[in-house]
């Protein structure tokens, strides 16, 4: 069997990042390793040697990958290694604690016809939380060698792994998908006749998921035959009219659930199950919605609204700026600067210092800071993906598309960014609906903070605002979904484990976000200040405010509110801060405050968001959305004012 001039057999290690792959690599190879860039890329790959039962092997440690369908450069390189290095054995290293999440890739590797050995690593940690994995049963079901290990300290499983590699025989296991999918796969793979490392079944699956690199390869090998393959693939994608990518990964999930039945047993570790309970509660509509309200109440209302926008802003704005800094700076300017216009520019009504710096430092920063703290705590607990799942269920009931959940949730951070994220949605229709709703009814973090702070002082106002926002969101979403019909692909998201937030993570995220936020808004506030002063001095502002006055009267608002709306177009938070000024000057009664807050939240997105909207959706769509949103904002404001005055609520 063995020839004397044998070439070294290759063992390739693959798996997600953080599953202890490098430890396995080091344990297997000892110190004879080299690290070099993979040809033609900047990605590093380690190679080493090892000897098993007298035979030499080359061991390759690949960059982390989540799936055979690559997204990142790292994953592309990892896959290329699998395609090009003709492995003797592929060792898929997975984390015992995350079997469910990682097993689908094992399936992909097996169905690609690769010689897979599964190494379930980090068993010690899994056992510590009361988890037991039946290795023998899993091996029987998968029909490939499965080794349990903990390579960290004890090098547990190393010898079993070596044995598995020594005795390796390729298995012929296949896992069947739903019948219709199987028929498609079969039909297409029949057409391919070239010679490939991966089997044709898995190549077909990747073609169906529109993998361009694989398409190139197949084109290369098939030559004239490729045209028929391409046509069959396109026809299938067209016929199915569903997200094949999602469909295939759901099928894989289904198979994995079947495979894992009876394999994992959980001893009653109380902590573990409690986190699981909480996790389930957050996603069940009956418990999830009340939980969401509690999170909103504590995180946003109490912490951001009460503490940030109340306590801290009062101190900075009232004590530091109004009483101390402003009089001092104004006095300084008046003494030393003889020119009226420069005084106006620096410390006037819209001055760089009195408006720009004060808004940015005394009003926006504390609010955004506390918001970011709350956001980071919630984020670090793993709550957001669960929220996405929860909201998805609620959305579906009113005919909205579940996939839009992610950009919507992100929109509460910043609508501009969320608008970019609508790119990930499947159809143009969904993108348009999502973009519209973002522009209309999702307040960004800064705006929400200011508004929460403003309204939380007035009983009932916050309630009216929330009901209006949710109402408009659902109504417009519902109508849009009716007008723009289409399929509703299933929404699926991987749910990471829930855990206690870590102070250090929260701190890093908050500080980092505050830094970029400040860097972004500060120049804008300065520019806005300059424009406003120029407007004031030239009389253009007065004219613009005059244009707005009739609209303000329709809404039942004082003329002074015009300015807040004009500010609002620069940035949402800027407009909200303008509102804050009006409120502290006592110019707004509860009804007016609520109407102004609702209208301003619905009102046109900021300049940045409009620009991104234009870039993503084009002039026609973005202008339509712009006018639609503006019209709706004022219409709702008008109706709300009438309604509140009529019912006497808030008066």
């Amino acid at each position: 069997m063995q020839s004397q001039t044998q070439t070294e057999k290759k063992i390739i290690l693959v798996g997600n990042p953080n599953v202890g792959k490098s430890v396995v690599f080091n344990t297997m190879t000892g110190s004879y390793t080299t690290v070099s860039n993979y040809p033609g890329t900047s990605v590093e790959v380690s190679r080493g040697q090892c000897e098993i039962a007298g035979e030499h092997y080359q061991v390759l440690d690949t960059p982390g990958m989540y799936s055979l369908l690559p997204i990142t450069e790292e994953e592309r390189v990892a896959r290329r290694i699998l395609l090009e290095e003709s492995p003797h054995v592929v060792v898929h290293v997975i984390d015992a604690r995350n079997l469910e999440r990682m097993l689908p890739m094992t399936l992909q590797l097996i169905e690609a016809g690769l010689p897979v050995v599964l190494l379930i690593n980090i068993m010690d940690e899994a056992e510590r939380v009361g988890m037991h994995v039946d290795i023998a049963l899993l091996q029987e079901k998968l029909q490939i060698p499965v080794v349990g290990g903990a390579m960290g300290r004890a090098k547990r499983g190393l010898w079993e792994l070596r044995d598995a590699i020594r005795d390796f025989e390729v298995s012929k296991a296949t896992f069947n998908y739903a019948t219709d999918l199987e028929k498609d796969i079969h039909g297409i793979s029949e057409l391919m006749q070239g010679d490939y490392t991966l089997n044709r079944r898995s190549l077909t699956l990747m073609l169906l998921q529109r993998d361009e690199e694989i398409a190139e390869r197949v084109k290369d090998r098939e030559g004239d035959r490729y045209e028929r393959v391409e046509k069959a693939v396109n026809d299938t994608i067209f016929d199915r009219r569903v997200d094949l990518h999602l469909r295939i990964s759901l099928e894989r999930k289904r198979i994995c659930n079947g495979l894992l039945g009876g394999v994992i047993t959980q001893k009653d570790g109380n902590q573990q199950t409690f986190a699981d309970h909480v996790s389930n509660w957050t996603m069940n509509p009956w418990t999830g919605v009340p939980l969401l309200l509690i999170v909103l109440y504590l995180g946003l209302y109490q912490f951001v609204g009460g503490f940030g926008a109340g306590t801290i802003v009062d101190f900075l704005e009232g004590a530091v700026f109004e009483e101390f800094l402003n009089p001092w700076v104004i006095g300084l300017c008046e003494t030393y600067i003889p020119w009226y216009w420069l005084n106006e520019l620096l410390v006037g009504e819209y001055g760089l210092f009195t408006l720009g710096v004060r808004y940015a430092v005394a009003i926006i920063l504390p609010i955004v800071g506390t918001f970011f703290v709350a956001f980071a705590v919630i984020e670090d607990s793993g709550y957001f993906p669960r929220l996405a799942m929860l909201v998805d269920r609620v959305f579906k009931k009113i005919g909205l598309n579940g996939r839009a959940v992610i950009p919507m949730v992100l929109g509460f951070g910043c609508d501009t960014m969320a608008t970019v994220v609508t790119r990930t949605l499947e159809s143009t229709r969904e993108r348009i609906i999502a973009t519209l709703l973002l522009a209309l009814a999702i307040p960004c973090s800064a705006q929400m903070g200011v508004i929460l702070g403003l309204l939380s002082g007035v009983p009932g106002a916050l309630m009216a605002w929330m009901v209006s926002m949710v109402g408009v969101f659902l109504l417009v979403g519902f109508l849009a979904a009716q007008i723009v019909p289409g399929e509703r692909p299933m929404f699926y998201m991987e749910i990471p484990p829930m855990r206690l937030p870590q102070i250090q993570n929260v701190m890093i995220k908050t500080l980092t976000r505050m830094q970029w936020y400040f860097m972004e808004i500060f120049p804008l506030f300065m520019i806005a200040s300059v424009l406003l002063v120029a407007g004031k001095l030239s009389g253009a502002l007065e004219w613009l405010v005059g244009m707005f006055n009739p609209v303000m009267r329709l809404l039942g608002l004082p003329n002074e509110a015009s300015a807040a709306f004009i500010f609002g177009f620069f940035r949402r938070d800027f407009g909200a801060a303008g509102l804050y000024d009006l409120q502290t000057e006592g110019l707004l009664d509860p009804v007016q405050l609520t109407v102004a807050a609702v209208t301003l939240t619905l009102f046109v997105p900021c300049v940045a968001q409009f620009l991104v909207m234009q870039k993503e959706r084009g002039w026609k769509t973005s202008l339509t959305i712009f006018f639609l949103v503006t019209g709706l904002a004022f219409a709702v404001g008008w109706a709300l004012n009438k309604f509140l005055l009529m019912t006497g609520f808030l008066v």
């Binding site: 997600n16 990042p17 953080n18 982390g64 989540y66 997204i71 990142t72 450069e73 790292e74 984020e379 670090d380 793993g382 957001f384 993906p385 992610i406 950009p407 992100l410 951070g413 910043c414 501009t416 960014m417 608008t419 970019v420 994220v421 790119r423 990930t424 998201m493 991987e494 990471p496 250090q504 890093i508 995220k509 500080l511 980092t512 976000r513 830094q515 970029w516 860097m519 972004e520 120049p523 804008l524 940045a608 968001q609 620009l611 991104v612 870039k615």
Partner: protein, 57 residues
């Protein structure tokens, strides 16, 4: 670092070039290619400070 939304592993080197284009003064965020989440890039100074802290501990 991990994506704060979907928890996929992200490396700044591979993602820094993919700014969203919507940020003034350059993008200070890593946009996750898996879910689109905008992850803040930790400033070098802060990172250095935290690392020093860890070494001392």
């Amino acid at each position: 670092m991990k994506c704060t939304f979907c928890e996929h592993e992200l490396t700044p080197e591979m993602l820094r070039e993919k700014g969203c284009g919507g940020c003034l003064g350059g993008c200070r965020k890593i946009h996750c290619p898996y879910c689109g989440q905008e992850n803040p890039i930790v400033p070098e100074l802060l990172e250095k400070f935290l690392k020093d802290d860890k070494h001392k501990a």
